[in-house]
């Protein structure tokens, strides 16, 4: 019963709540006051009634004494009828006088005397009055008995019957009056509370309406809010509320404008930026959005891009740290994911990009902003540079290589000369001799062909790709080309290669160039030392390969001049060279370093000036 009522009140508007609570409180207070007043009235009136009854009783008792003694019935009757004259008749139900034998001497009934009341209320001998509530003809009556004494002895008693209903009538009258009054008060408060509730809630309803409008994006509220509130003073809470509401709205408006501005700015950056930018869903790596540059670069339309898996374009592999960061943080800093990775355009053409990612919120989703900077051109330039450097190296090596080629040619020449001489001398050439010469010529041709093939391989321009290679292979290839040359220069090349090393991700040709550069540098350093000291030094190059933890390491040590510590930090810079003008371009180590870094490798240099240098090249191993 009560719960639905409470619920229904809870669901009422604020206005009705205020209204109801005020009304209920007023009703409760009214009822309490009514009950309290009634209680006071009844008790006061009852005691007042008894007092009046006693007063009447005593005065009759005083007046009737002589008539009682003479038993003058008419006088007694007249006396008690007089006691009921006028307004008292409403109050005094009856009066009767009894003598000491309880005989009824006089009474005011106009019907037979109701016998039961004669002795119903006897006065105690030592008292002079007694009051008792009794019932007479369905009426409650207070019977007030007062003793009539002559001297100290009782000669009779006066009984005055007081209608209890007299009080009830009074109380009824008062109650009616009071209720009327309370009703008027309630009505008054009713109207006031109604009005109050309306006054409070109307601005609130207005605020609500305005809030709704604001949520719909209508910010033009200032005039509307102030309408109707001018009448209330500055201290009025509702007005203060609406003021701060207006202030708030203004702030929202400002920040909205700022946001819009910033949004536009970033949108234009996003749209007109030169780099392809994608927005990816963080979980599925689906493309949510892409900028025009992305469309242009990858050759897809926007519609084709959105919804496509980003990994369709190219590899997107995150490190463990990045995975953790991206999965836990709603937004974060830009981090580099990978560089110089190959992505495919729509037409299958490969491009090289650097990938940067940044976790953000995008349209209520956990998203990633991924920028793929197209570095294909740079990679191409790198390749050209590397090629140029390689050609330079080849140029430098051309003398040695020519010498290398001369040897088979000489051998072939010797064979052909022998045959020519034998023919001129008409000396017979034995079958065995001929076979030996032919075999030698063939092997010398094979040898020359091998050299030429290696040269061609080496000189071929290569792409920036990665494949699994074993580090020992390029070392051996390079030594095939220039090993003899080094030995011709009295340089002792010692190979300490570990068999069955794990593979690394790199490119054979490029690694050849790295080794080539290191070996030529080592040779130069050894020659330079000899030139500067003019002594016969140890001329040794040691090439080692081994594994160190999860990395594959190649060491190239020489017994050359060493590196001046003051220039140690500069040796990887492009165009830095210690050689004489015209002898080197100063690109060797710079290119070497670039290639090594492209494959995730590191170069470490241990060098003691005048004693020699060791280059440690380490690459992550491929499991």
């Amino acid at each position: 019963m009560a719960q639905p009522l409470i619920d229904s009140i809870k669901n009422r508007s604020l206005k009705n709540k205020i209204f109801f609570s005020v009304t209920v409180v007023i009703l409760l207070i009214s009822v309490l006051i009514a009950l309290f007043t009634r209680w006071i009235l009844i008790s006061t009136l009852t005691s007042e009634l008894k007092l009046r009854g006693l007063g009447i009783g005593y005065s009759i008792a005083e007046s009737c004494r002589s008539y009682l003694l003479t038993e003058d019935i008419p006088q007694l009757t007249s006396l008690i009828f007089d006691a009921r004259l006028g307004a008292r008749r409403e109050l005094v139900g009856y009066v009767f006088i009894i003598d000491k034998q309880d005989r009824i001497l006089a009474h005011t009934f106009i019907r037979d005397f109701p016998a039961q009341i004669a002795t119903a209320n006897r006065i105690d001998p030592e008292k002079d009055h007694r009051i008792q509530l009794m019932t007479m003809d369905n009426d409650k009556v207070y019977d007030v008995a007062v003793a009539v004494n002559e001297g100290i002895y009782r000669i009779g008693a006066v009984h005055v019957g007081l209608y209890k209903k007299h009080i009830d009538v009074l109380i009824n009258k008062l109650r009616t009056t009071f209720l009327g009054f309370v009703s008027v008060v309630i009505l008054f408060f009713f109207i006031i509370s109604h009005h109050l509730a309306k006054t409070i809630t109307r601005p609130i309803a207005k605020l609500t309406r305005v809030s709704d409008e604001i949520s719909r994006g209508i910010f033009d509220i200032e005039l509307k809010m102030e309408n109707g509130l001018e009448r209330s003073g500055d201290k009025d809470e509702v007005r203060q509320l609406s003021r701060s509401f207006i202030n708030m709205t203004n702030r929202i408006k400002e920040s909205q404008a700022k946001l819009k501005e910033s949004d536009n700015k970033y949108r234009s950056l996003f749209a007109s930026g030169p780099n392809p930018i994608f927005v990816l869903d963080r979980q599925s790596l689906n493309i949510l959005s892409a900028n025009p540059s992305a469309e242009e670069t990858f050759g897809y339309t926007r519609e084709e891009l959105v919804g496509r898996l980003f990994t369709d374009l190219g590899p997107f592999e995150l490190s463990a740290d990045q995975l953790l960061t991206f999965s836990t943080q709603p937004t974060g800093r830009v981090t580099s994911v990978s560089s110089k990775v190959q992505y495919l355009k729509k037409n299958g053409e490969a491009i090289y990009v650097n990938v940067h990612a940044c976790p953000v919120h995008f349209e209520n989703k956990q998203a990633l902003i991924v920028a793929t900077t197209d570095i294909s051109e740079m990679v191409e330039k790198d390749s050209q540079l590397i090629q140029a450097s390689k050609m330079t190296t080849l140029g430098e090596m051309s003398a040695g290589i020519a010498h290398e080629l001369n040897q088979p040619l000489n051998a072939i020449k010797m064979g052909s000369d022998f045959l020519e001489m034998m023919i001129e001398k008409e000396m017979p050439v034995t079958e065995q001799q001929l076979f030996q010469i032919v075999r030698e010529v063939s092997s010398q041709v094979d040898r020359a062909e091998g050299i030429i093939r290696r040269l061609r391989d080496f000189g071929r321009k290569t792409d920036f790709t990665k494949e699994k290679i074993f580090i020992n292979d390029p070392i051996i290839s390079v030594l095939d080309i220039i090993g003899r040359q080094l030995r011709l220069q009295n340089i002792d090349v010692q190979l300490q290669l570990t068999e069955n090393l794990p593979a690394i991700l790199a490119h054979h040709n490029r690694m050849e160039q790295v080794i080539f550069n290191l070996l030529t540098n080592a040779r130069d350093a050894i020659n330079l030392k000899e030139e500067s000291t003019l002594r016969n030094n140890q001329r040794t190059i040691v090439i080692r390969s081994y594994t160190d933890n999860d990395r594959v390491v190649v060491c190239v040590s020489d017994t050359g001049i060493g590196i001046d510590p003051t220039v140690k930090d500069q040796i990887f810079e492009a165009f830095f060279t210690t050689k004489k003008m015209g002898e080197g371009m100063g690109l060797g180590l710079s290119i070497t370093n670039g290639i090594v870094e492209d494959y995730g490798g590191k170069i470490q240099i241990d060098s003691i000036e005048g004693r020699g240098t060791t280059f440690h090249l380490s690459f992550p191993m491929v499991p």
Binding site: N16, F19, Q75, T77, S78, L85, R111, F113, D139, K165
Partner: protein, 394 residues
Amino acid sequence: MKRSIIIILGVLTSMMMACTNTPEDPLSTILSPGITDDQVRVGSSLALGGHAGYLGTQTLHGALAYIQHVNDLGGIHGRRIHVKVYDDGYDPPRCVTNTQKLIIEDKVFALFCYVGTPTTVKILPLVDEARIPVVGMFTGANALREPHNRYVINVRASYYQETGAAVKHLVEELKLERIAVFYQYDAYGFDGLKGTEIALRPYGLVPVATGTYIRGTLDVAEGLRKIMAAGAEAVVMIGTYEPCAKFIRLASQKGFSPVFYNVSFVGADELARLLGDVDEKIIVTQVVPPPEVSETQQLWGAQEYIELLRRYYPADRPNFVSLEGYINAKVLVEGLKRAGRDLNRETFINSIESIHNLDLGIDNLLSFSASDHQGLERVYFTYLQDGKFVWRNH
């Protein structure tokens, strides 16, 4: 919202309604005691002896003359009227006791033929409470007329009317201005005094002196002295025949001879008898015409009265007092007649109220209404002439 307002108003209204219940009166059921198939019992308490015994006796005789006549003719609607009479000796307490006894023990249908102001006024509370009709009182007391009481049926003109007419006569025709009042020191006397004062006020006059006596005594000397000292030209006397006669005699002896004026209650015939042949100018206002005017100027009502009185009370001489009793009886009988066989106190009162311009043969039409419970209005002036009060139609 509107619904809740209606609900709350409804609750308030019902709370108000709940408070206005009034208890039912248990007495309203007692309507018709004293009525049997062949009898209507009415009760009377009046002075049958003592200093007002003449008034009571004559009133009763007049009334009974008519009632016996009616009974002899078969009663009203088959019921004979039985009058239960108690003597109160013009003593108010006894009147109250008698009335209580009439109501409780004798269970009379109505009260009838009461005599005297102090006595009758005393029983008003009983009448009110018992709702018993009281018909035809030999008194003109204002207390029986105002406030209006449904159960009190007056027949005669009031003392106010009597004194009013008398004062008008004294002031306007006899050109007297020094008017004194001699009155019985009780409700009757006060009523007469008040009536006189009210009548004098429009002339800008007040009583020049007042003298009193105690009911049942003849101590009039002091009152007379005061009135003489004031040099009154007229004395309005509100008393009974004995003290008034003594007053007039004493005044006459002392050579004080103003105009003496008495109200009807004095008992004009007895006063005349007591005074004998005096030279004083004595006026008595009457509320009934003199029963015996002259052979030529006879009223048929008075004629009928004289005949019936002669039949039932041959010893009595026709007089104003018993004629009044006779007329009271006629009103009672007329009411009972009109109420019909299904008689009760309420229908009886309604019947009385229905009487309008009824000619009783006394040159004075009887009329009642719900708001007017006094049947006759006329005041008759009588003068003492040759030991007898004669009607002078001035």
